[in-house]
Each structure stands twice: as structure tokens, then as C-alpha cells.
Assembly symmetry: C2
Homo-oligomer: 337 residues x 2
């Protein structure tokens, strides 16, 4: 069985661990298409937060307590950069993490595509999954914020980490998205899959960068990378999504602010309906919401999405595995239709 997960960083990585475990006794291969919209050039190196979160989690090297980055991390280099007044003093650039950025930057400068560099970096471990960046092109999410009387435009990571998503968003800009195309293997991974899963990731800036996400009430949406949404709409595989919102709040991160900036409500029901039914030109055959949100099922079902309420909290590895099994079962049922 070929399973393809479309994912952002930390939240998606938790789910990916559960999915890998759920598949381990089966004859299955797992491909993970990862958001690259948070990528950036910082102090001369290419940083890919979501790819790294995914790689570290699958390699068992992530800092589970802190929730991001490498376990046993230090910041010796970062302290030097601060002393020189270079870079972003509020952005943690761990030493071990920096090793990854430097290795990647070296490969990119040698002419490798990001997907090739990613494959080479991942070859260091037995990850049990193939990581594919959504695009080899540089697509970066920037944020136009309203600050006092004027506006300020900053990289998504600056808005996210420095302002902690408090700077009011006028719109998200996806620089480079208009000319970006899917990385080698992305469309194939979706087209040839037996199951496609949308991870419980930020629907606007993680999955939205990959698949697009509409605005509402006069707000600009995000375009996504041309070709990936179409591949999801056309695949013969069932497509099941897992809600990143439980009871009106994102499980992790700042999806609420992102949805608000696009004029969209923050609920499992709303995100499911915006993703939409594949039968109606949307992305989903099936949508998993938390048991707390079972009230959303009738509206979702009415829109043509096979919705189910299951426990979504991934409070440990076993909960992640059970959620992944729920997603695979939902996909199987959707395929039976």
C-alpha cells in the first residue's frame, strides 16, 4: 500500500510518526510531501523548518519536550552571531540544526534541487518514509502587517516567532508561488497513492502553501503551488484529512490568527467545508474531527464529506498511532463508496 501524507512541520510530524507506526506491519510505503513556505535564507544558509521538523522527528532526534528542533541542542554559534549583531536575535539557530542548514546549503550551492538535497540529508538515517519538499522553487510566505498607521512586511517566521503572531495581518504573500512548480515526485506521489492524507497542520500557511486556501470577506487567500491541488483532486486514491482544530482552537500554533487574517472562522467544521468535498471540486473524501466537535458532522456530511468524530489529541505515540489507524480506516471506507 502506498500512503502519501501532505504535511506541515511539528504537528504533521507527530501524525507522521503515528502513521509510520500504523503501517509498520503492513507492506506499505510512506511518502510525505512537506510544506516549504516557511523556508528562508538566514545568515547565508537555507533554513527549511518543516522539512527539518519532519526529518528530526522520524530520525528520533527531535526535542519532544520543547516541541521543536533537535534534542540536546546548544546555541554556541548563535551566541556569536548575536555578539556580531548579525541575523535575527530572536530566532533560535541551534548548533546541531545549523549543521543541517549548512549541509543543505552546500548541496544547493553545488546545484542540487531541494528535493535532491533533502534525499541526501535523509539518507543519514532509516526514516521509514520518503520526504519530498512540495516544491524545489523558493516559495516564501511573507506577512503584510498593519502596524500603527503604516504597514510592515516581514517573513512569516518573523511574524510567527518575533511578534508571536500578534502583529495584525493584512494579508499573506506567497513570494515565488506564482512561478513555482511541484518538486519531482510530488504529483506522482499523489497520483499513484492508495491513500492520501492531509495532516493536522495549519490549513493556511502549511497546507495552504502546498494546496492553496481561499480568503473570504474581501481578504486575499493564498494561492498554493500550481499542480498539487489538481493532483489531489484527480487521484484515484481516497483523500482523508485530519482537522488541526479542536473545539475552536488549533492543537498547536497560531492557525486561529491565520484563519482570521483570511476572514475565515476557526473551527473543525469550517476548515473541513473550506477544503471541501472532492465530489464538489474540493479536496476531501473524508474528514476527521475530534469527538468534542461531533456537532459538526451533519453539516460536513451534507456537503458531501464523509466526516467522523474520533479522538484527535496526539498526547503520546500510541494516540498518534491510533489516530493514523482511524485515518486509514476512514480512507478505506471512503474508497468503498
Amino acid at each position: 500500500m502506498k500512503v502519501t501524507l501532505i504535511s506541515g512541520g511539528v504537528g504533521g510530524a507527530k501524525f507522521a510518526l503515528g502513521l509510520r507506526q500504523a503501517l509498520q506491519d503492513q507492506d506499505a510505503s510512506l511518502s510525505i510531501i512537506v510544506n516549504t513556505g516557511d523556508d528562508m535564507w538566514l545568515t547565508g544558509v537555507r533554513v527549511c523548518p518543516d522539512l527539518d521538523s519532519m526529518m528530526y522527528a522520524l530520525a528520533g532526534l527531535n526535542d519532544a519536550e520543547r516541541g521543536w528542533g533537535r534534542a540536546g541542542e546548544s546555541e554556541r554559534v548563535s551566541a556569536e552571531l548575536k555578539a556580531y549583531g548579525i541575523g535575527w536575535p530572536w530566532f533560535t539557530l541551534g548548533d546541531l540544526d545549523l549543521g543541517t542548514h549548512l549541509a543543505r546549503t552546500t548541496l544547493l550551492r553545488e546545484g542540487l534541487a531541494l528535493s535532491e538535497a533533502t534525499a541526501q540529508l535523509c539518507a543519514r538515517w532509516e526514516l521509514g518514509a520518503q520526504l519530498i519538499p512540495a516544491t524545489d522553487d523558493e516559495v516564501e510566505t511573507w506577512v503584510e502587517t498593519t502596524a500603527g498607521n503604516g504597514t510592515a512586511t516581514m517573513h512569516f517566521e518573523e511574524w510567527w516567532v518575533r511578534t508571536r503572531a500578534t502583529a495584525p495581518v493584512r494579508r499573506f504573500l506567497q513570494r515565488g508561488a506564482e512561478s513555482a512548480s511541484p518538486a519531482a515526485g510530488v504529483v506522482e506521489a499523489v497520483a499513484e497513492a492508495d491513500v492520501v492524507v492531509l495532516a493536522p497542520s495549519n490549513p493556511v500557511v502549511s497546507l495552504g502553501t502546498v494546496l492553496g486556501f481561499p480568503g473570504a470577506g474581501g481578504r486575499a487567500g493564498v494561492p498554493g503551488i500550481a499542480g498539487i491541488r489538481q493532483a489531489v483532486q484527480r487521484t484515484a486514491a481516497p483523500v482523508v484529512g485530519v482537522s488541526p482544530i479542536i473545539g475552536g482552537s488549533p492543537v498547536r500554533g497560531m492557525a486561529a490568527q491565520c484563519l482570521e487574517a483570511l476572514g475565515q472562522p476557526c473551527s473543525a467544521e469550517a476548515v473541513g467545508l473550506i477544503y471541501g468535498s472532492r465530489g464538489q471540486g474540493g479536496l476531501l473524501d473524508s474528514w476527521l474531527v475530534d469527538t468534542e466537535d461531533s456537532g459538526a458532522l451533519p453539516a460536513l456530511e451534507a456537503s458531501g464529506i464523509a466526516a467522523e468524530a474520533v479522538p484527535l489529541w496526539m498526547h503520546n505515540g500510541d494516540a498518534s498511532r491510533r489516530l493514523a489507524l482511524d485515518a486509514l480506516s476512514a480512507a478505506q471506507r471512503a474508497a468503498g463508496h
Copy 2:
């Protein structure tokens, strides 16, 4: 009094410390023109070994015991790069040092010239001297070696560090030298100086990259950066050099192999004669050799160089200071002629 030192890395830095101390009670300014021929791109960052050696020494952060790099250094990032199989496993890239490389690379990518980036990095400390790279252009020393039946061409640092200068040299290549020009301030620092000192640095690959160095017996020399040699030849200031060779051996490093590769003998006398008297189109008014090499004085004097034998071993800070005072005295005497 304006003093300008032309220098390589570690050996020159030792002398620079002595010179700074010798000048501290005088109304004096110290400019140091530093070799950039060992510079390189490594794992996507610009490494400038001699500039860094000089900066760390003047900032009091150098590892005096090991003889190079930063004190209290670690190699966390380097270990990651090795695990990824990226870069040069035999080249130590310390974490603190890497902070400097990343800061520099960031500034270079922002469009600053190396001399501007160097000034910005050095502003972190009170160095008591202005560091100027010999050139803002990329001049890199590469080595064509004879290996078995064939030849191999490698960066100078690879020849120096990986082969420990054992790979037989066919010739040194100074890539980029033909189109390089002196960095802003270099020619001025020489022209406007009251004293110019050539540090006890490798005459071929350190000072030779800056000033040029001839080959002999059919061997190719090194061209140097056009304009700096002429500035030294023309300056109204006395020019005094300090021999890097004591009793037929370099004080530190592999000058013997470098001189041999150019068909030149390794002695304080030979290097002084090759630098030559300014009166005869050379570089020196005065040349300091070690007391052990006082036998060289007659030949040097006969060639028009005011040679003196003084203790050259810089076994501690005070010895470096006394040597610097000897150099300043020699300059004064040369100016009196």
C-alpha cells in the same frame, strides 16, 4: 606615528600583538594588511583563516596553546556536517569560528566588500589596530601537486592541512590574482605610513600572495596583487622586514616546502635577498635575522639591505614586544639614512 604591518596569519598575529604593545605608550596608529590567499568557500561560508587568526589574537580570544583558532572551541556543527558527509572531514570548523564565518558570509551576501565586512566584525572589540584584507577580490591559493603519475590540484588549505604539505608541489596557482586589486585603504596605509613592517610570515603563500614572490630554476613564482608591491617600493616610509626563517627552518608552518616548490632556498639570508633592497627595486630597507643567523649579515649588507641580528623567537608576549621594538628601531635607523 602611523605603522603599517603586512602580515599572514598566526605568526604575523604574534608579532602584531608585540607591535601593539610596543606602540601603546606612543601616539601611534596601527594598520595591518592581511593575506587573503588562504580564504575559501567551505560548506557555503567564506572562511578567511589569516584575518580570523589576526582578529582573534588581537581580541585576546585565540587558542594560544593549540596555536590557532578560538580558545574554548567546540565542534558540534562540524560533527553534524561529518555525519551528513558534507565538507572536509579533516578540516576543523569550530563552532565559535563558524559564527565568524556565518556573520562574514551574511555581510558579503548583503553586498559589503570583504574590507567592509572585516571592519564590521572587528568593531565587536577594541582591537587597537585596523585590519584590512589585502584585497576585496577573491584570490585563492591553489596547489598543483604531483601524485604518482598524474597531478592533482587542490586548495592550499587542503594541501596544508590534509596532506600536511607532504604532497609534492609542481606549482602554486593564485586564482583570481590576475584581476584582483588592493582593497580600499591598502595602498593608502602603505603610502601614508611612517613605518612599514613585513611580518615574519610565510614569504611565499602569505606575504607572497600580497606582494608577489619569484620562482627560480624554472619554477613558477607567485604573482601577488598588482599595486601593493609598488606601493611598498614607493612609500616614503622605511620598510623593515622580520625573517620568518631561523637557522634554516621556518619558525612555524611549512615555509620550507613552499620555498622549495619555487626553487628557492630556505634561509633568512635567501629570503631577505629575494625580497631585495628597495634601492635595487626590491622591498626592504632593513631586514632582521635571528642572532643565530648573524653570518648572513655581510651578504645582506652587500646587497644594500641594512641587516641586523636580534632575537627572533617570540616565545612569550614580552619577546614579541622586544622584537617589535627592534623592528621600529631598525626602521628609525633606516629612515635616518
